[in-house]
């Protein structure tokens, strides 16, 4: 599925990713943990093609297809989805309109027919119910005036609606209280499937109690400093990132 090799990237001329390599096979959930400034968010932006994040070396492919050569929307159409750490507000555009527009843009790019209004609404009702989102909220401008928790829930809702093949969750647990964290995690877990990969970026081990990773990677100094099983997250929780930060 996702294959990253010796990836180097810089922001404003400063190298942030310094030869990062990573493999996430289909059906697996990998967690990326690391200290602040290690390049966790940079990795998510490089994979999704944000401008200002310049790749200076290495490769990133999804099922053998070069991601780095594609525009952000083309990557989205290939099934790459990023749940933002800080979701943006889109004034004047109702959440449902935003998602339907995005869904149809992706479908068009893949040569598929647009979703019909009844089918879209049915899907939206199902996913909203599962995530305990009031349907009325979906008629309001996306994220405008939403609380931090509501915004995160809305990210997962979009993810469920768009049903991407590869999910990147960037600090999805930040700003969530324990109840919201449970709902969001259930939403994410519901998406686990043998042909879907996930990269869960988090600062804290807490989220991994709910979304059990197959592997945990420590990102420090712009590359993967250590890889292990779920136990590695617990160890990091106890001992902190110090030894990796120093090693980097």
């Amino acid at each position: 599925m996702l294959h990253i090799e010796n990836l180097r990237a810089e922001v404003d001329g400063k190298e942030i990713l310094k030869g990062l390599s990573l493999d996430v096979p289909a059906g697996e959930v990998h967690a990326i943990m690391g200290p602040n400034g290690a390049g966790k968010s940079t990795l998510s932006y490089v994979l999704t093609g944000r401008s200002g994040y310049d790749v200076t070396g290495g490769t990133a492919t999804l099922d053998g297809e070069d991601l780095l050569a594609l525009d952000p929307n083309e990557r989205a159409a290939k099934g790459v989805f990023l749940s933002f750490q800080y979701p943006l507000e889109i004034p004047g555009v109702p959440a449902l309109t935003f998602i339907r527009t995005a869904m149809n843009a992706q479908r068009k790019a893949r040569g598929e027919a647009e979703i019909t209004a009844p089918a879209f609404l049915k899907l939206a009702r199902e996913h909203a119910a599962a995530l305990k989102i009031d349907f009325e909220m979906l008629k309001r401008a996306l994220n405008v005036g939403f609380s931090g928790g509501e915004k995160k829930r809305m990210e997962i809702f979009q993810m469920a609606m768009l049903a991407p093949r590869f999910l990147i969750l960037d600090e999805t647990d930040s700003g969530l209280d324990i109840d919201a964290l449970k709902i969001v995690s259930e939403g994410v877990n519901a998406m686990r499937s043998p042909d879907r990969g996930m990269l869960v970026i988090t600062h804290y081990q807490r989220l991994l109690d709910y979304i059990k990773p197959d592997k945990v990677h420590v990102l420090a100094g712009g590359r993967i400093a250590a890889t292990g099983g779920p136990d590695l997250a617990l160890e990091l929780e106890r001992e902190g990132y110090d030894k990796y930060a120093r090693a980097a």
Binding site: R50, S51, P72, N73, A77, I90, T101, A105
Partner: protein, 489 residues
């Protein structure tokens, strides 16, 4: 919400300026240039009565003594008023009596623009769907007005201005120039001298006009100006919704469009006036060509509790100079102004409104959304004033500007004059740049950059789009999309 979806659905079908074609149609021109004889020529062409000619000549005399206004934030070379045609009309023996007599070439033009002039076709549509009566103004003259008979049954007069001058002189004499006086300003005065046609509407007391009325303006001839004049009178308790649309071929020379619109409202009357303006904006790179849109629009709320609402979507024209205004004379009268002004390429717009509170407890509301892209300049200029008698006057103004790219400009110039202590005026203004973060967010979800811009812009202008009649909202949406194509990246 549906409208926002529409944009994306329509976007791939769009081209840069779709209405840039011109049509070869046999036409009569007045000789080039402007003098008293040309004014007489126009008046004679239209078989006008003596009083009308006198009115025009008086206007022409006054115009000669006036200077062009220079206070607007727009720049253009001096206009040579002698280098233009002031009258261009499709050749025909007499005015057409029915659709069958209209030159099929002209009907084809309107067909191509998506305007149906065939009553039959409109009637055959879905039951309950909104119907539109259309007055089609082609260069200097009205070529046809539809649904006249049906409107006449309820007493509504809807016809070309030339016809009104001949058939309803008492109404025209009483109201023409009573809202925008002959010498109100340079362009309005020029219009009074040479106006060639336009629409006339009278809605009698207590009548709610049974359908939307609309005028579709088309400049086709080269080197010609268009000077139309519209007069709408809503008598006591009457209601009418009126729409106008405008397009022109792509030409390298600038063409002048100096229109005057006068609205008169008696007690409890209501007029909703919507404009979708899409004159050719000129070449986006060189700035060559395009329409100079110098227009005077004013509503006079003479009656108590009358209400006027201007909604405009301005996407075209090389230069726009336009301030649809409300004179709130009647007690408790209400004025509204909803505007979307989009400039791209080398376009310049200086547009806004005047809310003049004369009567007690008058209220007004201004929502202006300016969007600038390319190397364009977009200025909101607005006046809100309350006279000593306008006790308890209220105004709410919101001016939002959105900048796309680094080479455009937005300006907001509000004038506020309160001459009594009991009025409440509120003014809110914001200027934002289309944010890279928002664009990336939308693109990460699958939208192309162009689609992302349109979605965000449509969100920005939503408050105003909602004010447009349904059919126009869709057209306006498409226009927003076209005019901002290629504005990012």
């Amino acid at each position: 919400m549906a409208a926002v979806k529409q944009t994306i659905e329509h976007v791939e079908a769009l081209e840069k300026y779709q209405h840039g074609f011109s049509t070869d149609i046999a036409q009569d021109f007045a000789p080039k240039g402007l003098n008293a004889d040309i004014v007489r020529f126009i008046s004679a062409k239209k078989n006008e009565p003596e009083w009308m000619l006198a009115w025009r000549l008086d206007a022409f005399e006054r115009w000669l003594a006036m200077d062009e206004p220079e206070w607007a934030k727009v720049h253009f070379p001096r206009i040579d008023y002698q280098d233009s045609y002031y009258y261009a009309a499709p050749s025909e023996k007499k005015g057409p009596k029915s659709l069958d007599e209209v030159d099929p070439e002209i009907l084809a033009v309107y067909e191509k623009l998506g305007i149906s002039l065939k009553e039959q076709a409109v009637l055959a549509g879905v039951e309950g769907a909104p119907r539109y009566a259309v007055d089609a103004v082609f260069d200097s003259v009205s070529v046809v007005t539809t649904f006249k008979k049906e409107l006449a049954q309820v007493g509504v007069i809807f016809c070309s201005m030339s016809e009104a001058i001949r058939e309803h002189p008492e109404l025209v004499k009483q109201y023409l120039g009573s809202v925008v006086p002959v010498s109100d300003n340079y362009y309005a005065c020029l219009n009074a001298a040479v106006f060639s046609d336009g629409s006339f509407v009278y809605v009698p007391p207590g009548v709610r006009c049974p359908m939307e009325l609309s005028t579709y303006f088309r400049i086709n001839a080269e080197n010609s100006g268009q000077f139309e004049r519209t007069l709408i009178i809503a008598d006591k308790g009457a209601y009418v919704s009126y729409l106008e649309g405008c397009t022109a071929p792509m030409r390298d020379e600038n063409q002048l469009h100096a229109a005057v619109v006068e609205l008169v409202l008696m007690d409890d009357a209501e007029i909703k006036y919507s404009t979708v303006q899409n004159w050719y904006p000129g070449d986006p790179v060189t700035g060559k060509g395009g329409i100079y849109n110098f227009v005077t629009k004013r509503a006079d709320c003479r009656g108590d509790r009358s209400k006027v609402s201007w909604t405009q979507v301005e996407t075209g024209s090389a230069i726009t100079w336009k301030y649809p205004s409300c004179v709130l004379r009647g007690e408790g009268s209400v004025g509204e102004f909803y505007s979307i002004a989009i400039t791209n390429g080398r376009q310049q717009a200086d547009t806004g409104t005047k809310m003049i509170h004369l009567g007690a407890n008058t209220r007004s509301r201004v929502i202006s959304k300016g969007i600038s892209a390319g190397k364009s300049s977009n200025t909101y200029r607005g006046l809100v004033s309350a006279h000593p008698k306008a006790k308890g006057a209220r105004n709410f103004t919101q001016c939002d500007s959105l900048l796309i790219g680094k080479t455009c400009a937005a300006h907001t110039v509000p004038y506020i004059e309160a001459r009594n202590g009991s009025c409440v005026f509120e003014h809110e203004a914001t200027t934002t740049k289309l944010s890279e973060d928002q664009l990336f967010y939308a693109m990460q979800r699958g939208l192309s950059q162009e689609e992302a811009v349109q979605l965000l812009v449509n969100g920005f202008v939503k408050d105003v789009l909602q004010e447009l009649p349904m059919e126009f909202a869709v057209e306006a949406q498409k226009l927003v999309a076209i005019s901002l194509e290629g504005s990012v990246g």
